[in-house]
Amino acid sequence: MYKLLQIELYKIFKRPRTYISFAAITALIGIIQFGLLRDGESYVAFMMTNVMQSFSFDGKILNGYLVCYILLQLLLVHVPLLIALVAADMISGEANMGTLRLMLTKPISRTQFLLAKFLASAIYTFMLLVWIAFLALFVSMVLFGTDDLVLQKTNYIVQLPVGDVFWRYIGAFVFALLAMLAVASLGFFLSNFAENSIGPIVATMSVIIFFTILSTMSIPLFQKIQPFLFTTHMVNWKEFFDPKVNDENAVIIGSIQHPERIINSAFVLLLHIVGFVGATIFFFKKKDILS
């Protein structure tokens, strides 16, 4: 199994396509950071016009933590496409190249073969998120410095003390990994039914777009199914930035207002991952390799 995983990782990181994602992330984050460095103060002033009229803040609102939050809000919508580029290609790409039949004439079980492939795409997903974390969090901290994180929510504002932010990002990235693995497992599942990569990549993105629309529309009919859609739960990394407050409305350090939402969402995402991977194995074991 370990040998198979090594081989799968070797194949992933030997393909130029793999690095498109890393290059795209670097370019996107770089451009946003450059823009915020040049004209970030006016951007923040525009974003928080109402708040600024009622409150005055000491220190730097536009700091590394806020930049990272802005970047995550933007990126975590688009990263699924980059995940799908690799995950949805895992089986269909091999079928398209004709290497699937050669692989399966070797003394490896189909289940091991699939698990190694999924683990490899999970590692790729993890590395992509580590790269995002490095650029969005650490580079932003260097470029913009650190201070309290001020966030404007729908009905209130949150001011997280500088010492109470970093661990929340760690939690958010771990949660994002789970969300992206759910995307990877969907792409992996769809990859089983095609003999070229384009179909499953487009299908994965279409499902995500379709489910995201259903997840965000406040129509009673849709609201009934929203708890079962993984896209509803993918955005719950934001719960890490919603702390409990005491009677004086001050943030309780190290607290989360609704930890049960995070646990529930993580469970639903985990269930989707297990479900999609399990279904892939089930169908693949019965599949005739005709490519």
Binding site: K3, L4, I7, Y10, K11, K14, R15, P16, M97, G98, T99, R101, L102, M103, L104, T105, K106, P107, I108, S109, K286, D288, I289, L290
Partner: protein, 313 residues
């Protein structure tokens, strides 16, 4: 089961919706055989080979390799098998060296630089070891595919249409390699092809299938009647010649016609006599060509099979 059987297939059937690709097929391959697996395109050769390699799940029937059932001992069996199934597709973005190393690892053997280079040397690709495969010609890819199939020193080698897309030199190279693997290394080889003349030159035993069914199985010597020869006759007016022969003593020698030329099956020693008779009957002969090869045999029995089916339907 025969003591030296490497493959034993019994009642193998594969149904794809309404199409029966392989129909109750049974055959055995003995140790050391070069087993020619023949059939026209769509006859069911590749489906059978894919079932032998567990790429396709049979609808019914049993497959035993090395005395073990493929369903229950898949990994153990595949450790002893090397295969090229149809096109030799490998990772085009990797080099020849990387491809051989990758598949050698998957075969469960200890991979060394020497082992890989020896393999590439054997298939004539050592000088291109570090080049990525997308720069290779079809013939080079075919040789690389065979190199990959052989890298773990398998006892059984399965080559599905190995000469597809190759030029005459490439075809000759594959033929020589098959001979070398069989005679010098004692490998058991199953080779499928629709290029019958190629199989004829290397196979020690043959299986001919048509529409998924076995037509005939046996050694080349058993399949041919050595006393009989197929003669291809071409004359100025073949239609009239056919009429004359039908009314002569040679009428029983006439074979089903599959082109404008006339086919006769005669005793080898009576060919001069046939020639004299044709001249005496006033037939203007352009050519009289004795042919005794597998292609004639194959086309003859598949044609007969079609006649039988036409009558029985």
């Amino acid at each position: 089961m025969h003591m030296h059987s490497i493959i034993k297939v019994s009642g193998l059937t594969k149904q794809f919706k309404n199409l029966t690709a392989v129909n109750n097929l049974s055959f055995t391959v003995d140790k050391g055989d070069v087993y020619g697996f023949l059939g026209q395109n769509g006859a069911g050769k590749s489906t059978t080979i894919r079932m032998l390699l567990s790429l396709i799940i049979p609808t019914s029937g049993e497959i035993e390799l090395f005395g073990m059932n493929i369903k229950t001992n898949r990994s153990e069996i595949l450790r002893q098998v090397g295969a090229v199934v149809e096109k030799p597709d490998v990772y085009k973005y990797l080099s020849a060296y990387e491809n051989v190393a990758l598949f050698a690892k998957l075969s469960g053997i200890k991979v060394t630089h020497k082992l890989i280079m020896d393999q590439l040397e054997m298939v004539g690709l050592a000088s291109r070891a570090t080049d990525v495969v997308k720069t290779f010609s079809q013939g080079m890819k075919q040789r690389l595919g065979i190199g990959i199939a052989l890298v773990h020193n398998p006892q059984l080698i399965i080559l599905d249409e190995p000469t597809n897309g190759l030029d005459p030199q490439g075809i000759a190279d594959i033929r020589n390699l098959i001979r070398q693997l069989s005679k010098e290394m004692g490998k058991t080889i199953v080779v499928s092809s629709h290029l019958l003349s190629e199989i004829e030159q290397v196979a020690t035993r043959l299986l001919i299938i048509d529409k998924g069914k076995k037509l005939v199985e046996g050694s080349a010597d058993e399949l041919f009647d050595p006393s009989q020869t197929i003669v291809e006759l071409d004359t100025i007016d073949n239609q009239q010649t056919l009429q004359i022969i039908t009314e002569s003593d040679w009428k029983n020698a006439l074979q089903p016609q599959r082109s404008s030329t006339i086919i006769l099956k005669v005793d080898k020693n009576s060919i001069p006599s046939l020639h004299r008779s044709l001249v005496n009957m006033g037939i203007q002969v352009i050519s009289l060509q004795p042919r005794h090869n597998l292609e004639d045999y194959f086309l003859q029995i598949t044609a007969n099979n079609q006649h039988v089916q036409a009558f029985t339907n």
